[in-house]
């Protein structure tokens, strides 16, 4: 193994000396540019990308990014990748606009550029991979509520961020769209905690007082879900009222143990890195279709602007929350 490695290094070195042009037998190299290094979320994405590279075989991940979340730092990383003549760049952008000129330049030099997680301007990448989509998020929140409410069903309420938060309102609308499919669930109230821990907590306490038969609180906000879980525990309602929604495993592991949260959802960074790598690889193989095969994640469809959604939000419960709590 070691011999083979050194032989390969020698061969690469010799080829490098002879000519700098890319060789056909070279692996497909994909630069995975993240917002900043030393962030558990992105390290998990890197692990996913490496998994994808192993599955592909003839591919290599170059994991890179700045130390702090600056666009200027990412530009330097992209410059270095361009100089190495990578085949593709998959970037989670710190700034959708500031990265556009350098990414366009990379595309001019024949590098396939995609964005994932956090996108860039439409004309500065081929496709953008969203971790999920609004309808999928809305549907997942209600599905989790139905699961925890059981066959008997019951009253549910939504704890949102601010009444003007665009994302929140879209998700609430999506939830309302799928609610008729769950006749056992009855939405009784929607309250707003403004993404402040103390206000979310007070709103939850008020909600519990106002609706004594409440079964499930759906909080599609990472601040709200923690505050609601805490309020349910403090009011001694564990086992009667369950909290679900979107949140971070590291913040919710304790509440899952306590029982105020049975399950919740958020994207899975490992899957995200895996899919980004798969898509980048497929693009280097000349696949420029609107539907791209992404290994175990199935086929991902992109709309006319090149936006695609990876999958349903990933569900976390007692079986896996501790594993992911160390990641993000």
């Amino acid at each position: 193994m070691k011999f083979r490695k050194s032989l390969m290094a020698a061969a690469i070195f010799a080829m490098g000396m002879a000519s700098v042009t890319a060789q056909a037998a070279d692996p497909v190299r994909v630069g995975l540019v993240v917002k900043s290094l030393g962030n558990g979320f992105f390290e998990a994405a890197r692990d996913g990308a490496i998994e994808a590279a192993k599955e592909i075989g003839n591919a290599e991940v170059i994991y890179t990014g700045p130390t702090s979340t600056t666009a200027e730092g990412q530009i330097e990383s992209i410059n270095a990748l361009m100089a190495q003549r990578v085949d593709a760049i998959a970037v989670s952008a710190n700034d959708p606009d500031a990265l556009a000129p350098i990414l366009k330049r990379a595309m001019d030099r024949g590098i396939k550029v995609i964005s994932w997680d956090s996108g860039v301007a439409d004309d500065a990448r081929i496709v953008h991979l969203n971790p999920s989509s609004n309808p999928l998020i809305g549907a997942m929140c209600i599905k989790l509520a139905a699961d925890v409410a059981g066959d008997a069903g019951g009253e549910i309420a939504i704890l949102s961020a601010t009444p003007t938060s665009t994302n929140q309102n879209i998700w609430i609308d999506e939830m309302k769209k799928v609610l008729p499919d769950y006749s056992q669930l009855k939405l009784v109230d929607t309250v707003y905690g403004d993404d402040l821990a103390d206000k979310s907590y007070r709103e939850t306490v008020a909600l519990l007082k106002k609706h004594p038969n409440l079964k499930v609180i759906v909080a599609p906000t990472s601040v709200g879900i923690v505050a609601a879980a805490q309020a349910v525990a403090d009011q001694g309602k564990i086992g009667e009222v369950f909290v679900t929604g979107l949140g971070l495993p590291s913040e919710l592991a304790g509440h899952v143990d306590a029982g105020s949260v049975k399950s919740f959802a958020i994207w899975n960074p490992i899957d995200l890195g895996y899919s980004a790598m798969m898509i980048a690889y497929q693009l280097t193989q000349g696949d420029e279709h609107m539907m791209i095969e992404a290994g175990r994640m199935g086929t991902i469809t992109f709309d006319k602007d090149g936006n695609g959604a990876m999958s349903d939000p990933f569900v976390y419960d007692a079986s896996n929350v501790h594993k992911f709590a160390d990641i993000f």
């Binding site: 690469i12 070195f13 080829m15 490098g16 000396m17 700098v20 290094l37 030393g38 170059i62 994991y63 890179t64 990014g65 700045p66 130390t67 702090s68 600056t70 666009a71 200027e72 730092g73 530009i75 330097e76 990383s77 410059n79 270095a80 361009m82 100089a83 190495q84 003549r85 700034d95 606009d97 500031a98 990265l99 556009a100 000129p101 350098i102």
Partner: protein, 352 residues
């Protein structure tokens, strides 16, 4: 030229025994030879970095790659030139990165009002100049240390940028504006880089060949003595701060043009990178000594090292550690060397 004899005399006069601090009157003759040594050392490091890069990466020796790499440091290097003068004159400006943000926001705002490329550039430079002038005016008028005032304006200027822009962004600059930060003058030579080369020559002449440059050294070595020799110290300092502001404005034009957009967080943390370039270039952070040639070589040394590590995909954290070590190594070596020499000299003296 200070002789061993006078040195011994001053020593016996109960003056500080610190030999590393040079007496002002040794400046003219001693400085040049010392600086030559410094620049030689830097050059050696540059050559080492260059050949290491060639050895380690087959991609290094490519005109386009090298040209791309210059974009990573050119804007900072342009500020480093006037900053070198400022630090030689015993001052410092920590607000340059915030000045970039302020100037960039001003350009973005002007763009929404329909300004053309040339007007935008003038506005960027104008705002930078005003910001630098305000720094200098407060410092010289109220006699407050530069580090205090510019830490204040560092927050102030960026604060204004945040108030104006918040989490918004200015973009869609006019077509022609992209030339400043993305255009090429000839072949692989970018406008930015050519501008930097011209400015380096201009600043070299200003510092080393003009009366103004001599005065900068005089102020840095001893402001009181400079004042008594008829130099209007305050006006010179005010001018230097304004000059740094102007070139922070120039950097703002280039950076804004290069990334084609403005956010209030633009150029975050650049002030320390600029100062690192200056210090690495052999400019004494306590003032009084330094050269443009040194800063010029230091810029390339940092550029080569960071680009080389980038090609090797060294993580940024390791890169910062390496840059820090390089700084300590390059600055520490001559100081330690001098100490050793002095100690040896003292020893042989006392042995006599």
């Amino acid at each position: 030229m200070i002789t061993e004899k006078t040195l011994k005399q001053t020593m016996t006069n109960d003056l500080p025994k610190d030999m590393s601090r040079h007496l002002p009157d040794s400046l003219n003759s001693d400085l040049r030879s010392k600086m030559m040594r410094w620049e030689t050392l830097l050059m050696v490091f540059v050559v080492i970095a260059f050949f290491t890069n060639i050895q380690l990466s087959p991609y290094f020796l490519d005109p386009w790659s090298l040209s791309d790499a210059t974009f990573n440091f050119t804007e900072k290097a342009i500020i480093a030139l006037p900053m070198a003068l400022l630090i030689i004159a015993r001052d410092i400006d920590l607000s340059v990165a915030s000045t970039i943000a302020l100037a960039s926001v001003a350009m973005g705002f002007a763009n929404t009002m329909g300004a053309g490329p040339i007007e935008l550039a003038l506005i960027g430079m104008g705002v930078g100049t005003v910001a630098g002038f305000v720094n200098g005016w407060i410092i010289t008028k109220f006699d407050i240390p530069a580090i205090v005032v510019t830490i204040g304006t560092m927050s102030l200027y960026r604060g204004i940028a945040y108030i104006v822009l918040g989490d918004e962004v200015y973009r869609s600059y006019p077509e022609g504006f992209a030339f400043f930060g993305q255009g090429y003058v000839w072949g692989v030579l970018s406008f930015e880089f050519v501008l930097f080369l011209c400015l380096a020559v201009a600043f070299g002449i200003l510092l080393h060949k003009t009366t103004f440059g001599r005065r900068v050294y005089a102020i840095g070595n001893n402001p009181t003595a400079a004042l008594f020799s008829g130099i209007n110290v305050k006006r010179h300092r005010l001018f230097l701060f304004t000059l740094v502001g102007l070139f922070a404005g120039v950097a703002a034009v280039l950076l804004t043009s290069r990334i084609g957009s403005t956010r209030p967080s633009i150029a975050m943390g650049w002030e320390l990178e600029v100062i690192t370039m200056v210090v690495l270039g052999g400019v004494n952070i306590m003032g009084g000594a330094g050269s443009i040639v040194g800063v010029f070589i230091a810029v390339f040394l940092m550029g080569l090292v960071t680009f080389g590590m980038g090609l090797m995909n060294v993580p940024g954290i390791v890169m910062s550690i390496f840059t820090g070590l390089l700084l300590i190594l390059v600055i520490g070596t001559p100081i330690i060397w001098r100490r050793v020499l002095t100690a040896r000299k003292m020893k042989s003296k006392s042995g006599n």
